[in-house]
C-alpha cells in the first residue's frame, strides 16, 4: 500500500544548532505513527515541517506522493503542544471560528459529542479545565475532518484519568481510518496508541518499528522487581544484572523460572515480587543511555 506521508532526509538548522539531521520515514494510511524522544530531540521540529508550517533546511515531505504545499493544510488536523485560543469566545464559538477557515467541516454537534464537550460547549474557553482544554484542541484539530492528524504532546500536564480518557478518544479517531502522527515522551502512551514508533535523539532516528517488535529485537529478558528491603542477598552472588533504583531492585533475567528458584534458594521473600516485561522506557535507556524525561 502506498504511504500517505513520506519524509525524506529532513534537515533543519537554527543558528548554532542542527535540530533535525536527516530524518526519513513513511506512514501508511490509518496508522498511528509515534515520534518519541526527550525534550530537544527534534521531534516537534520534524512534525512542524511535516505540518507545513516550518520549512526544512533540506529534505522533502510528500503527502500521497506529492510535495506538501498550502493545500495540505486543508487535509491536516493539528493539535499543538500548547495553543492559546481567542479570548472571550465560548467552546462552540471557537469551533465555529476554525470550521469556517476550511473549505468543508464536520457536523459540529457530532464533533462536540465525540470529544465529550457537551457540558462546556457554552463556556468561555478560558474557564475550562486542562483535560477539557485538550479535548477542545483535539476537536479543533478534527474540525475539518482531516486525513492526517498531528498530535504534539497531547496529554502533557493531564492527570492519569484525563490521559486515559484522551487515549480512548484517539482510539475512536483511529478506528475511523485517520492517519495519526503522535509525538510524546510518555512511553506508555506510545505503546498503547501507536502501530509504529520512531525514537529520536539529537535530531536523528535511532530506532524505528512497531513497539512490540522493537522490544523483541532489543530485549530477550524479563525484569523481576522487588522492594530493596526484601532483597537480602549480595547481588554479586547472582548471575544476573541487578539494578538498584530508589527503594526498588530490578533483576534482569532471561529465564524467569530459573531465577525464581535461585532467589528462593537464597530465601528472598516473594510477597511483594512483581514481574514485568521490558518496556519502551527500558528501550530508550538501552539506546541512549539516559532517562527519557531527564
Amino acid at each position: 500500500m502506498a504511504p500517505v506521508l513520506e519524509v525524506q532526509n529532513l534537515h533543519r538548522s537554527y543558528p548554532g544548532v542542527e535540530a533535525v539531521r536527516g530524518v526519513s520515514f513513511q506512514v501508511g494510511e490509518g496508522r498511528c505513527f509515534g515520534l518519541l524522544g526527550p525534550n530537544g530531540a527534534g521531534k516537534t521540529t520534524t512534525v512542524e515541517i511535516m505540518e507545513g508550517i516550518l520549512p526544512p533546511s533540506a529534505g522533502l515531505v510528500r503527502y500521497r506522493g506529492q510535495p506538501i504545499g498550502t493545500a495540505f493544510r486543508a487535509q491536516a488536523g493539528i493539535q499543538f503542544q500548547s495553543t492559546a485560543l481567542q479570548d472571550f469566545l465560548t467552546v462552540r464559538e471557537t469551533l465555529e471560528l476554525f470550521a469556517r477557515l476550511y473549505p468543508s467541516h464536520v457536523d459540529l454537534d457530532e464533533l462536540i459529542a465525540v470529544c465529550s464537550l457537551q457540558s462546556v460547549v457554552d463556556r468561555d474557553v478560558r474557564r475550562i479545565s486542562g483535560g477539557q482544554r485538550q479535548r477542545v484542541l483535539l476537536a479543533i484539530a478534527l474540525v475539518n475532518d482531516p486525513a492526517v492528524l498531528f498530535l504534539d504532546e497531547p496529554t502533557t500536564g493531564l492527570d492519569p484519568q484525563a490521559r486515559r480518557n484522551f487515549w480512548d478518544l484517539v482510539r475512536e479517531i483511529k478506528a475511523r481510518r485517520k492517519t495519526i502522527i503522535l509525538t510524546t515522551h510518555y512511553m506508555d502512551e506510545a505503546y498503547h496508541l501507536c502501530d509504529e514508533i520512531a525514537i529520536m535523539d539529537h535530531g536523528r532516528i535511532i530506532a524505528q518499528g512497531p513497539p512490540v517488535q522493537l522490544l523483541e529485537e532489543h530485549f530477550r529478558d524479563t525484569v523481576l522487581v522487588l522492594p530493596r528491603a526484601d532483597f537480602t542477598i549480595d547481588p554479586q552472588a547472582l548471575p544476573y544484572q541487578v539494578l538498584f533504583s530508589g527503594d526498588m531492585v530490578e533483576i534482569s533475567v532471561a529465564d524467569v523460572d530459573e531465577a525464581i528458584r535461585a532467589l528462593a534458594t537464597a530465601r528472598v521473600s516473594f510477597s511483594r515480587l512483581r514481574i514485568r516485561p521490558r518496556n519502551l522506557e527500558d528501550l530508550f535507556l538501552e539506546l541512549t543511555g539516559k532517562e527519557l524525561r531527564a
Binding site: 508550517i53 491536516a76 499543538f80 495553543t83 492559546a84 476554525f98 477557515l101 476550511y102 475539518n144
Partner: protein, 338 residues
Amino acid sequence: MIRRTLAVLHARNLEFLRDRSSLGWNILLPVLLVFGLAFVFSGPDKPLYRVGVLTSGAPLDDAQHPFLDTRYVGFFNAGDEADAIWKLEHHRMDILLDLRDPARYWINEDSPQSYIVEKLLLQSDPGGFARETVTGRRIRYVDWLLPGILAMNMMFSCLFGVGYVVVRYRKSGFLKRLRATPLLSIEFIVAQVLSRLMLIIVITSFVFLGTTTLLATPMAGSYLDLLVVAVLGAVSMIALGLLVAARVSSEELAGGILNMITWPMMLISGVWFSMEGAHPLMQRAAQALPLTRLLEAARAIMLDGATLADVRADVAVLALMSAAFLALGAALFKWRLD
C-alpha cells in the same frame, strides 16, 4: 518578604535587560521624542501667537512697524487677502494685520488668541489701525477642534487596538495555530482591518452625531463624503498598526514603536493648533502623516462644505498609504515567534 520581593525584582530586571529590542526602544524613544519635540517647539523666541501680515510686496521687516518687533509673536507674510481671511476664520492664524494703506487688522471674535494679540497690538500702537472682524460664517474653536479630537481618538484606537492585539496573538501562539489552517496572511490582515474599521466607524459616528448635536457644530459638506474620508483615514492607520505588528513579538517594543508614531502625529498633524507659520520642513513632514490628511479633509468637508473632488489630494494620499501599508504588512507578516 524583602528577600522574595528582591527575587522577583531581580528576575523582572533580567527579563527587561535581556529583551534587547524593548530595552533599545525604552532608551531610543525618549531620546527621539526629546529631539523631535525640541525641533518642533524650541528655538529663539518661539512664537506663542501667529500673525499674518499683508504688505505691498516688500518682505517683512521689523522696521515696517514697531509691533513686528514683539517677542513671542510669529509674523509671516499672509499673501493673498481673501486667503488670509479664510485662514483667520479657520483659526490658522490669530490676527491678520494689513500694513498697506489704510492700515487695519482683522480678528476672529471666536478666538481667545485673537483677543490677546489684539490687546498687544493696541498697546503697541493705539489707534493706528482700523479694526475689522472676519465676516461670513463664524467658526468657533470647538468647531475646528472637534474633528481633531475625533481623529486623534481614531488614531489611538486603530494603531494600538490592532498593533497590540496582533503582537499578543503572536506571542501567545494563537497566530501559529491559525497558520496551521488554510487561512492566508492577507485574509487575516483584511479581517483585522474590517473588524477594527467597523468598530471605530460606528463608535466615532455615534460620538460625532452626539457632540455635533450638543455643540451645534456646523456641517457644511456631505455626511457621505465625511464618511468616505473617515473610512480611508481609519484604514490607513489600521494598516499602519498592522505594519508595525507584522514582525514584532514583544508588547513593550510594539508600544515603543506605536508611541513613536502617535506622538508626532498628535503634535504636528494639527489636532490642537494649526501648523500655519511653522517651519516649512515641519509642514511638509506633517503632510506625510495620515492623521494630517484625514484632519485636513474632514475639516474642509465639515467647515467649508468641500466635496470629495475638492479634497482629492488628501483622499488619494490616504488611499495610497492604506494600500502601501497593507501590502508591506502582508509581505512582512510573520505568524510565529522566532
